[in-house]
């Protein structure tokens, strides 16, 4: 026995006793792996499934103990009630508006800035790029107070401007970095060939770089949209009137109102429905553009 383990160690560091043939052991390992992966998939999905099911329950069923899984009589009208109880339609529209305009402005201006960083030579470029990258570390709290004071002086509080206008000025370090990394992978020969044909800088940007960068632009757009959709702190601080709320702060308002309301009125099922409706566009977007999405995250992670 001892001799056997000793010789075994010479060929392989795996010292599992050889009750099974190598093939059987591989099969067992495979089976365990499947169980683990399927099991974790289930655990990860469970909160979703439970929330969607809960959003279809009546309040009294939601508070039943032990909890039920499948709603005894599904209440799809819960979703309509959210729109009646609070201005959810307006909030959705506001969120879409802020996220889409912010994304367009951010991606377009980041592409222009990234073009400059990737293709032009001028004094101070590398320093400026380092400064750009280092702004990613800055906690938002450092700039938030002065920005609040500035926007308040400009009369921009309780408008969408603070959420939209800044994105038109470069779109932030992350987007610039992402697009610059992508532009660097496009051969410069293409620019130079176009230049010989007499193309100017802007034409090279529009007719060569942009068409070749559609995957990267799509990635940038998706990531930005999701970030804006999810954003909590900025809208929460810059927006006051409920008619201008985004979904993120709207749900939190609904929840706060709910917990202050008298205990006989329960809105948890509606809060669940609202959360499902807030998550759905993001998940749909993810499924529509999964390819770009994964590639973008990986690109920033690996080449960073």
């Amino acid at each position: 026995m001892a001799g056997e383990t000793l010789t075994r160690r010479d060929t392989s560091s795996v010292s599992v006793p050889t009750f099974f043939s190598a093939r059987t052991r591989r099969l067992i390992g495979r089976a365990i792996l499947y169980v683990v992966v399927l099991g974790s998939s289930f655990v990860f999905m469970l909160p979703f499934i439970y929330t969607v099911l809960s959003s279809l329950k009546t309040p009294s069923e939601l508070f039943m103990y032990p909890p039920t899984w499948i709603p005894t009589s599904p209440q799809p009208q819960n979703y309509l009630q959210v729109f009646e109880k609070v201005a959810f339609g307006t909030w959705l529209w506001n969120s879409f508006y802020v996220a889409i305009v912010g994304t367009l402005g951010g991606v377009m201006s980041a592409a222009i800035v990234a073009y400059s960083f990737a293709r032009f030579r001028y004094p101070g470029r590398n320093v400026l790029f380092m400064i750009t990258l280092s702004t990613m570390m800055l906690p938002v709290e450092v700039t938030l107070i002065p920005l609040y004071l500035m926007f308040s002086r400009m009369g921009w509080l309780d408008t969408f401007y603070p959420l939209i206008v800044p994105s038109f000025f470069g779109g932030g370090a992350f987007l610039i970095f992402l697009l610059r990394q992508f532009f660097m992978t496009i051969p410069k020969d293409l620019d130079e060939a176009a230049r010989i044909d007499g193309a100017g800088y802007l034409r090279i940007f529009w007719q060569i770089l942009m068409p070749l960068s559609i995957p990267a632009l799509a990635t940038a757009a998706i990531l930005t949209f999701m970030g804006r959709w999810d954003a909590f702190l900025e809208p929460f601080i810059f927006i006051n009137s409920t008619s201008k709320f985004t979904v993120a702060i709207g749900i939190r308002y609904f929840q706060a109102v709910q917990s202050n309301a008298d205990a006989s009125e329960h809105n948890e099922h509606l809060l669940m429905a609202a959360s499902v409706m807030m998550t759905a566009p993001i998940i749909l977007l993810f499924f529509a553009a999964q390819r770009y999405f994964v590639r973008g995250i990986v690109m920033t992670g690996i080449k960073g």
Binding site: S13, S41, F120, Y122, A248, I251, L271, G301
Partner: protein, 310 residues
């Protein structure tokens, strides 16, 4: 063939033209950098030495905000410690989870793309929605988690989660892990695993290395840059925790989830102590800078960059 216009020895006029065009294209960002980042930083740096309630003009008080923070503020140290505790628990465990998830998704199982999506979906859930969702799952009386704990493990009394000062923190950690394990770091690990050259594994096999030995001696060293990247971003992200706690627990109960960002927010936008809150924010920034610097220094000891001579 080489294009003269772009080479370093190009005529001066052309290089000037290139530089001018470069600056012009860069200008939106320069304006943005000054207006929305550098300018506000200078302002908040100045405000941190003042007392400022928005209504009256800022009143210069020297270092008083800072001395008050360190000596008088009863929530400063607890919130700082809590925030670090959160990062120190969340980041290692979620990185380990991400790594294990990535490894198991890298075994060529059937339906991998589907599992990857399942793992990733929690990460896509907006934080506010996740907070609402988990507040319900953690409902102490009728929530499914406590029901499970009661019926499977006989937990009695079951945890009070977001209503119990001893459990609220752990509820937030679990909620954050749900979103983090299958998130960006898992995708980045997965790409890192796929980027390990096959030759290394083949060479290790020839040397007689088994599965575990290959993992420790090939996979892990080759992944260290990825681990480092995920760690630095993970820590910065964890220290900034705000919305999850704000929506799920409002910092309570009994300040049990009073994270540093909540402290800054409260001082600034509830008490309108803009000077004091600016000082709090700068302390936060300084700590983050130091921490990141330390991590980069320490990384030389354990991060292996292939292709770099050593």
């Amino acid at each position: 063939m080489s294009i003269r216009a772009l080479s370093p020895r190009a005529p001066l006029a052309l290089r000037h033209r290139e530089a001018i065009a470069g600056y012009l294209l860069l200008s939106p960002w320069i304006i943005g950098l000054i207006a929305f980042i550098a300018g506000p930083m200078v302002t908040s740096g100045y405000l941190s030495f003042t007392r400022y309630d928005i209504v009256n003009t800022p009143d210069f008080i020297g270092l008083k905000n800072f001395t008050d923070i360190f000596t008088r503020d009863r929530l400063f140290w607890p919130s700082m410690m809590l925030t670090f505790k959160y990062a120190l628990i969340l980041v290692p465990f979620s990185l380990l989870g991400s790594l294990l998830a990535a490894i198991s998704l890298n075994q060529g199982l059937k339906g991998t793309a589907l599992y990857r999506t399942f793992f990733f979906l929690p990460h896509l859930t907006p934080i506010v929605a996740a907070a609402v969702l988990w507040a319900w799952l953690f409902n102490p009386d009728v929530g499914p988690i406590n029901h499970m704990l009661r019926s499977w493990f006989g937990a009695d009394p079951a945890p009070g989660w977001f209503r119990d000062p001893n459990w609220a923190f752990w509820g937030l950690v679990i909620m954050a892990m749900w979103g983090a394990i299958g998130g960006n770091s898992m995708l980045i690990f997965l790409a890192g695993l796929q980027g390990v050259p096959q030759e290394l594994y083949e060479a290790a096999s020839i040397d007689g290395a088994g599965t575990m030995s290959k993992f420790w001696n090939v996979t892990l060293p080759m992944l260290t840059p990825t681990i480092f990247f995920n760690m630095v971003l993970g820590i910065i992200g964890a220290l900034k925790v705000f919305a999850a706690a704000f929506v799920a627990t409002q910092g309570g109960p009994a300040y049990a989830t009073w994270f540093y960002a909540l402290h800054i927010y409260t001082r600034a936008f509830r008490y309108f102590e803009m000077g004091y809150a600016s000082a709090l924010a700068w302390i936060f920034f300084a700590i983050m800078l130091i921490l990141t610097f330390v991590q980069f220094q320490a990384s030389r000891k354990w991060v292996y960059y292939a292709g770099e001579n050593d």
